[in-house]
Symmetry: C2
Subunit: 302 residues, 2 copies
């Protein structure tokens, strides 16, 4: 089975863009002073663009387990809300202080810091609203499993904890070691990528063995994705990447590349890609898209 992964990603991104726009709060005011409109505008702005990788992972793992697209799409959009909120907050002046995101000014640059903080907050809340809604899945227990898994992945033991380590590392007396940076990335970006893969299995009531396959794939895929990100920060150009490059190196920050060197980092990414694909191999044809995605993530230029 050959997969045109590039056009499949593009089609999915367009579909996610449209559905997410419909699932976010919208401004229904008749023109009266309705000042919370500003936070809604900022939420919508922050959710535009992006590769929709997490959404894609949920949609494709869901497809592998026979889940309806409508159901999976709502979970995919919830994950994109969590991801968008984390970017808005990470870009704040008190955090990474970034001006550019997804090729456009960051949310706080466009709407101001206070609105950006609030928009991030409300995007997180909205993710849980979407997950809890009975249109996501008729079975409340499945919805609760999704809330639990996604909350765990994004909280202090996952994404937020990873961002904390990243910030603390800047003022640490010695650079992070390889095990430390691996742990950081597994939390900061890996946890949400992994739960995006688990989500398809939760929706499809996958058995324990299948869940372990999805988790293994997601874990290795997440690391590949981060290593390639670090490589692009060195070798990529700002127009293709859509955000500032060379920042980590300039800041003297430890990355997979600074620790391993370019060649060893590339080699490691290759081996992890093969390992990610091996995890899902028992799924046969159902693993084709996920395997193609892993290869694509390895070769990507942005």
């Amino acid at each position: 089975m050959t997969v045109d992964i590039k056009s499949r990603l593009a089609d999915t991104a367009a579909e996610v863009e449209e559905t997410l726009a419909a699932l976010l709060p919208s401004i229904t005011s008749d023109g009266d002073r309705l000042a919370e409109a500003r936070v809604i505008e900022a939420m919508r702005y922050a959710c535009q663009g992006g590769k929709r990788l997490r959404a894609f992972l949920t949609l494709e793992t869901a497809t592998a387990f026979g889940v309806s697209r409508g159901s999976a799409m709502r979970v995919a959009c919830a994950l994109e809300c969590i991801h968008a909120y984390s970017l808005v907050h990470d870009d704040l002046p008190c955090m990474d202080d970034d001006d550019l995101r997804r090729g456009r000014p960051t949310t706080h640059r466009t709407f101001g810091e206070a609105t950006a903080v609030l928009a991030g907050d409300a995007l997180q809340t909205h993710a849980f609203t979407l997950l809890a809604d009975d249109r996501t899945h008729e079975n409340a227990f499945i919805r609760i499993q999704l809330v639990t898994a996604i909350a765990k992945a994004s909280g202090a033991m996952g994404m937020v904890g990873g961002q904390m380590i990243d910030i603390e590392a800047e003022s640490a007396p010695t650079p992070l070691t390889l095990p430390e940076i691996t742990r950081l990335q597994r939390m900061k970006t890996g946890a949400l990528i992994e739960v995006a893969c688990q989500a398809g299995g939760i929706l499809g009531k996958a058995n324990a063995a299948h869940m372990r396959m999805l988790e293994g794939y997601g874990r290795d895929f997440g690391l590949v994705f981060q290593i390639v990100d670090d490589l692009l920060d060195i070798e990529g150009d700002v127009a293709a990447v859509g955000k500032a490059v060379g920042k980590d190196a300039d800041a003297g920050k430890a990355t997979f590349v600074s620790i391993l060197g370019v060649e060893e980092a590339k080699d490691r990414a290759k081996r992890l890609t093969a390992q990610a694909i091996a995890h899902i191999n028992p799924l046969g044809d159902r693993s084709a898209v996920l395997a193609a995605l892993a290869n694509y993530a390895l070769e990507r230029k942005n």
Copy 2:
């Protein structure tokens, strides 16, 4: 039935303090570099102290509907996490820029801005983790109802939307009108207070008529609470209130008191208190504590 509301509040606050400390993530490191420990420390710091009013409302409405205290306490703690997160973010320099909260330095004053943003984020996530856990209620559908109601109350259409309006009002060409400020407060502080009351009914599977009573009580109680807050900002002293006073007046901010004047604001708070109590009157003896609380909220000095 006479209720010693003051000692009941104090006992509950102590109980919430202890349970919440046990329900928050804790630092289990063996002393290795474990940099996410900082965000966990900040989360725990941000959750200390406070009147625990929202927790009290959930615990007492739950008691009125025969809910086990263990179950209600977990929901109460989840609400206190949401409340604490909102305070941490509202106090940030880009928002209200407050140095003092609950009689201590604000979270960003103690841990820095970046950690404060992350601690707020993770506290919101943690609230949903607590709600989704099967120790909160054996029935997944009840847990989903709690997630839905609390997410709705705290998002862009509730608490966060209210804070947005509050911020926008500062730069509005004309001060807010009474209907506008009422709407603002119903969203900013009222929504979470109202859902704290609903939560006891959800846990206790209250019928629709009883849910309406709890909502009516919560709505009126929330307004009383805010009007008294505005009065304390004028008449209170900083030691008793535990945060800066006179800030609103100094900022030329419209409040219930600036619009209505002190006497009319007091009068309105009295009438709303009576109305709040009337809502729950049909519950008979089961409404005694909630009625006493409403009277206490009216008379409170901090």
